[in-house]
Amino acid sequence: MGGGATDSTEERRAGFPELVEQHGRMVFRVAYRITGNEADAEDVVQEAFLKAYKAFDRFDSRASFSTWIFRIAANCAIDLLRRRRTHPERPADLEDPEFPVADPGAVSPETALASSEIGRTLEQALAELSPQERTAFVLRHFEGLPTEEIARALGVRANAAKQTVFRAVRKLRLRLAPLRESLP
């Protein structure tokens, strides 16, 4: 019966807040790595969970929620990066003179690095990748996803995903090799 199916969807949705609690930080981390911008990452997180909620009836409960939400978040991030490139409405953090630390009193070694020229170069290297390349690389390098999963997230065949990662690595190395040589 239709009513039964609806009840079941509603029952399943009752568990959704818990899934957001469990996966929120992970989705933020991925979104931030892909967008390179805290505010954009927050937009992606919100958009991804909103879409996931709306499409929750399509989620196969036997599958992994993290894989599913990864896929949705990656697509939201790609969309946002494409939008940014076509219609830049918020300056990237890179262009912000305070990048990326707001509180100069609380500077850890990591944030000190990010504030430095090295941090800028690293961010710039990632920013020069296409949205698809950046997403594929982030999922591969930082999140350790296998090629098959990256392909699912990007909506492409496995071989195309693999080639995208190769391209990203080649571009990154061109920027990073001189930096590595200059470091002690």
Binding site: R29, A39, K51, Y53, I78, R83, H87, P100, G144, G155
Partner: protein, 245 residues
């Protein structure tokens, strides 16, 4: 001796080497390739130094609160909330109501004409409804592209979902045409053809061929572009939100 290519080193670095034992043996014997691998690892390793802004334990709860608020307060969607609930009950019927509302045909003729809803508000409602529809369609296409055509149960589920989306799609397309949104109507027309094919293609071979065609024509990509554009227009058509905290 053939040395390892950069791509082979990348695969090895990420544990996806096609011939792991051969690659390992070559690396053990070849100083040049070992040096190349070390350089690759060192260069990519630089990126690990980039920090991610921390988020506290309560972050997930905060996100859910924001999502919940947005679900309840999506401006133009308020008028569609009733229709959205019905959508859950029966997608096509609810879409019919939404589309009828958008076209100003919700009320009996002569009692509350379309003129009561200003044109810009109608456009906003249409944008929101179509954007939502495109989100669902994107997910349906993504799942179709990655499904195993030989699994009958999976194919049945996808066909049913595509059928639901076709009904809704048709109504939105007609409404978009009536509202003079020819660009949106054109995209919905292309989408309808694909959804119809998904809904009516049952043999595994035909479904596989359809998967290939959708990929080669970049239909999902085009859909994403249009969805992004709608999102931008949606944002441009509503007052700016409160300052982000």
């Amino acid at each position: 001796m053939r040395h390892l290519t950069e791509d082979e080193l990348v695969l090895h670095r990420y544990g996806e080497s096609e011939n792991p034992s051969e690659t390992a043996a070559h690396l053990a014997a070849c100083g040049l390739c070992r040096g190349n691998l070390d350089r690759l690892a060192a260069e990519l390793g630089l990126l690990d130094r980039l920090p991610v802004p921390p988020r506290g334990d309560s972050y997930g709860r905060e996100v859910w609160q924001r999502v919940r608020t947005r679900l309840a307060e999506t401006g133009p969607a308020r008028r569609l909330r009733f229709a959205a609930r019905l959508w859950v009950l029966s997608g096509a019927f609810a879409a019919l109501l939404a589309a009828a509302f958008l076209a100003g045909r919700f009320w009996p003729r002569g009692t509350a004409p379309a003129a009561q809803v200003p044109a810009d508000a109608r456009e906003r409602i249409l944008l929101y409804a179509v954007a939502d529809h495109l989100d669902r369609s994107q997910i349906a296409l993504l799942e179709f592209l990655h499904s195993d055509p030989s699994r009958e149960e999976e194919s049945d589920r996808e066909r049913r979902f595509a059928e639901e989306l076709v009904s809704a799609n048709r109504l939105y397309r007609q409404t978009a045409s009536q509202e003079g949104q020819s660009g949106v109507a054109g995209v919905l027309e292309s989408l309808e053809r694909v959804l119809l094919e998904i809904a009516h293609t049952s043999s595994p071979d035909a479904r596989q061929a359809l998967q290939r065609r959708i990929e080669s024509e970049g239909i999902l990509f085009k859909l994403r572009i249009v969805r992004s554009e709608l999102g931008r227009r949606e944002k441009a058509s509503v007052p700016p939100p409160a300052v982000r905290s």
